[in-house]
Symmetry: D2
Subunit: 379 residues, 4 copies
């Protein structure tokens, strides 16, 4: 069975997320990177191509060139992974779909909700796969949590608490040459959301992914804490879920000492669960009147979703790259099924264009809520 072939847009020298996509895609041997347009600057793209060990003739100067020429290559790419700054996502995804490629896109899907809605039309028209890499949904114990919630085991969802807290932008690194900071704090490249779009949307996605409840309304305060910053670097949001349950979502990039603290708690009428990204291989489960349960990745008592998402025995930590690789593995499975004629092949462990639209809706409505100091519907 041949490997699926991946072409990448973005991920040039200095990129954080590009190499992660490549390592993740290739980890399980199902996918190989065969082509790329890695940078808007051709020499940078060529440099990246050498680092990724891509044949020079398949390292392109820009992505339109890649989309045009790859189909002519023997062993041309099956899909395009988009890992550029946010504002370029829409064009690249649309064009790739139109050129007949499946698409894997980094989040957020687009720079604006309007683009996300337009992209939904494109995806639907194309009949191609579109997958959004909400990395954290690839962790085995996030999938266990999801199974628990969706099975009804913890009863009705009564409250959610989710946070995504970082500290790396507590100083204005964007002023001192940090590439990652520079585009994320620049409305022209990141879109209208700063922290809310960079990490808040992960927290939002995690809530909807795990609980199967929509966020129905938000009351948000978005702040620019570091003096002079143009985009929000701190967000605090009250949530109302579809079933009326309350929730809290907070995110920050100015919280000194926090690394990548994404944490979710779901309280139900019969039990509750808690998960922390920095200790990803554990899930805490509470039932009334019984000791606290800690479930560990790799253990036989876990459900199928979690078991399929680990490669190693219990106690051998798997991390962020492996979670990311689970998304690519699921995607490769779909590609294979599509290749075998299953036109509707989809996996509900993945986030697709609907989640993409939801995420952009959340970002825009949170911004609106903060501007108006009022509750805003998210639908």
């Amino acid at each position: 069975m041949r490997r699926c072939r991946m072409a990448m847009v973005g991920g040039g020298p200095g990129s954080f997320i590009g190499p992660v996509h490549v390592m993740a895609a290739q980890l399980d041997g199902d996918i190989e990177l065969v082509a790329g347009a890695f940078s808007s600057r051709p020499e940078k793209s060529a440099e990246a191509g050498r680092n990724y060990r891509i044949a020079p003739e398949r390292t392109y100067r820009n992505y339109p060139e890649m989309l045009a020429r790859e189909p002519l290559q023997p062993g041309g790419a099956d899909f395009v992974a988009i890992v550029t700054p946010n504002v370029l996502h829409f064009d690249a995804a649309r064009d790739a779909l139109r050129a007949g490629f499946h698409v894997v896109s980094d989040k957020p899907a687009t720079a604006t909700l309007r683009e996300a809605v337009a992209l939904r039309d494109e995806v639907n028209r194309s009949r191609k796969l579109y997958v959004l890499t909400h990395t954290y949904t690839g962790y085995p114990l996030v999938r266990e949590a999801r199974d628990i919630c969706r099975s009804g085991a913890i009863g009705d969802i009564r409250k959610v608490v989710v946070e995504y807290t970082q500290g790396w932008l507590s100083e204005r690194l964007e002023l001192s040459g940090n590439r990652q900071a520079a585009w994320r704090t620049d409305p022209a490249r990141a879109g209208a959301g700063g922290c809310i779009g960079d990490i808040g949307v992960h927290a939002f996605n995690l809530v909807e992914y795990v609980t199967a409840q929509n966020v129905a309304a938000v009351s948000a305060v978005l702040s620019c804490i570091a003096p002079g910053r143009a985009l929000d670097d701190d967000c605090n949001v009250l949530l109302r879920l579809g079933n009326g349950a309350p929730g809290v979502l907070h995110a920050s990039q100015i919280a000194i000492g926090e690394r990548n603290r994404l944490e979710l708690r779901v309280y139900g009428s019969k039990g509750s669960i808690g998960w922390k990204q920095e200790e990803p291989n554990r899930l805490t489960v509470h039932w009334p009147d019984r000791p606290t349960e800690t479930r560990h990745a790799g253990c036989g008592y876990l459900g199928g979703s979690a078991r399929q998402a680990t490669r190693l025995p219990a106690g051998h930590p798997e991390g962020y790259i492996e979670a990311f690789a689970n998304i690519y593995r699921d995607f490769a499975g779909l590609l294979r099924r599509r290749g075998e004629g299953d036109e509707q092949a989809w996996s509900d462990t993945l986030c697709g264009i609907e989640a993409a639209v939801r995420g952009m809706t959340f970002i825009e409505r949170a911004i609106e809520s903060s501007a108006r100091s009022a509750w805003v519907q998210v639908d």
Copy 2:
């Protein structure tokens, strides 16, 4: 040096907090319980008196009787501790002050803000000590946190996150004879706030106590989650601090599996701190570009406030009773200084009538905010 003499209102059979006050007050040998009106039912009061080993003639049928007779006893009480359900706090405190006693009161200070304001006048008129037992302020590492914040070491306060999460009221225990649940969920005995008044106010107090910042405004959602309950059992509140910094406060009593999860984080412009009540003997401190610090109770590197608030070497856990006892120890120190003629004696490690008014203001404004779905000032 004689022991200070304590008389108690409330704390009869079945009380949770009454015996805690007694253990805490007596732990260090500075105070002894000498009298009480422990219950509104005389036979219950007598039973409690026997359990506390109080002389029968100093176990009173009601507190007015106690306030009238204690001054006539040889070795009469120096102060009155009030540990009744909330709605009785005001009358008891006012009357005790008028009768010439110092007062220690459980929180919240009163059932309404109006009462708290009236009580402030009484306290000021009386020139007696009035101390509110916000237990958590007695932990050594809360005091260390406070010293750190107030010293400016972590710079300007940029964000606070505080929560107080419990699960014991996830079912309607008030329907099945649980005394503690019954009065706390009954507006006639608890006042207008349920969860917000029982535990939310502790979280609020902790923010103001530690950061030296006032909470300037709130946007709250108070919910009655358990079907049919009359008072809120879940609260989610956005905060705006006096300096404009954002914050989140959430509290719940329906979060299955949570015991008594009071946690505070303060993020500053130069550093940040984190503390958890269920692991009270540690304080996490973050500085930029340095490893995370964990400070442990009993260690020599701690500041004076923390060192004075421990009795044991590091690694010998002290808990809730010891924290409570620190408040009583500070109070006993004030009593002694007052006895020695220092009419102004006060300790800023304690919460007094101003904190009492602040707490009631917070409760009422949070209720108002939730009712109106709007931001409300807290001042």
Copy 3:
């Protein structure tokens, strides 16, 4: 019901454990300190008496005087608590028993095994209560662990791992005026064991207390790590239990950064348990093929022993003083039953003279094993 009356030998100014005994004994209101011979120096004894608020006429110059005069006092002491340095334990305990007092003794029971054996005869002859305060046996979750092991729930004991690690003696504090360090490192006051007698014996006791297995043999290495120290400050011991199962016990006082790290793990054929003194309110329980269980103090699912040993709801930490108080509370219960005519009254939650002899046997055999580099029986 009157309070039990306690007289104390030792616990003068600068004592660590004396005030702990007093706080613990008095916490629940069952016991009061009424007399003492607190120091071998009369002026120090008097100073301590004032601090403890003992009547001057019941603050004695030495313990023989106390033992002679207390019986003549109205309300004379019921029992004597011995909290001196180790070498004085034997004489004080023997004399107190002979004078007709019940005895509570700090550990280790005596300075030598020979003394412990002799003391056993005295106890048996006296028909008085003798209780050894192995503090850690008072923690509720140690008692839960014990119940689990003794019930057979975790099957046959297959392995134990116990440690007691401290760092406070990593430097030779005994040279710079630290009282606690001075007597503990001085063979003339501590006896033949340093670390092994001060804390190793606690670890040993915990194994036998929890598992109901005897330690049958030891192979020990006792070291004097800090240059020039006369007594061991580090111990590493292989164990063979009565049923043949292996074990490891290690203790240290030179482990920089460790505070009071007493930890026990018991692995059985059907399950296993783990407990850590610095997080005393949790017990980890493992069963094959099921998620890890964490049991929390104060929860309704705990067994009777654990439930009786807590005063507060779950999530309200109780610590070292409360654990110590549980021993005194159990002791007070026995005194009452003895007073009511139950001559055999005993509680198997307590450590008595047999545990005292076991502890001294362990200390001497470990010293012998280390000297001979050989396995030595412990029986």
Copy 4:
């Protein structure tokens, strides 16, 4: 720059460690698997070859065939990775070296010390690279720990405590068809050591790797706990380091509930460190009189060794595969330097033939010590 080319011996269907080597080797794009003799059964080898997506003509029926033919292939393998059960390691390594390949071998190096010594001669004669994959040495914070120890920052090593505790063999899985259990508990395939050779040697290696101290002598108890098992499944060992410092090493495979609990503590005269494999991205560092330090992977304050061994920003967990990949990445770096003519190229972050001999010495001496109940030198 071309990828290094890897051929593998072992790692057929059902292998745990084979796929780990492949994922680890390929993670960073420096190495590709091009050939293999994956099983002693040709059809199994072919099946594995298809799974690994190896060309059929380079999937060999046995390793001698592979060693003979690979040099004739265009793009023939540069090195051989050996991932068979232990007893086959020696022959395969020797033959691969003689055939001119560099060798990467899973641990333990051989089945006996005699073989290890013979292999050392082979390695020295061959002038090829020989690397032993002690996985845990690839973790960034193990390397930080090593740097700290070797820099002298924590002073003289005074004590080590190391454990490697698992529970998966608490039942005799080898009787019910578990492949991993079957060979590990069978002296004919595992060699003379069970638990001591499978995991005890990792713990031993970690001590010598991190501290730069040799283990000079051991006193061991090796037990067969599960009834009827032929090889030890539990080991408890007292250590004496080269500088005279004491230590404890314990390992188990029958400890119900433990997953893969490898933990190391090193106590020095000026500080101490602690690391846990199941939380690999943190390192605890203690200094006297200062708060506890926690160092986190990915942070800028770490030393060069640790920084080079992470791929992601702080808070993005890397795990076992990434640690393993660090070993392969270092190895690939050496291959490149050898290719560039640096005949002596070596990296002291890697374990080579000396560590291999040390490990086998430890295993045999521990077995001897246990048999004789005596201390045995390890040198």
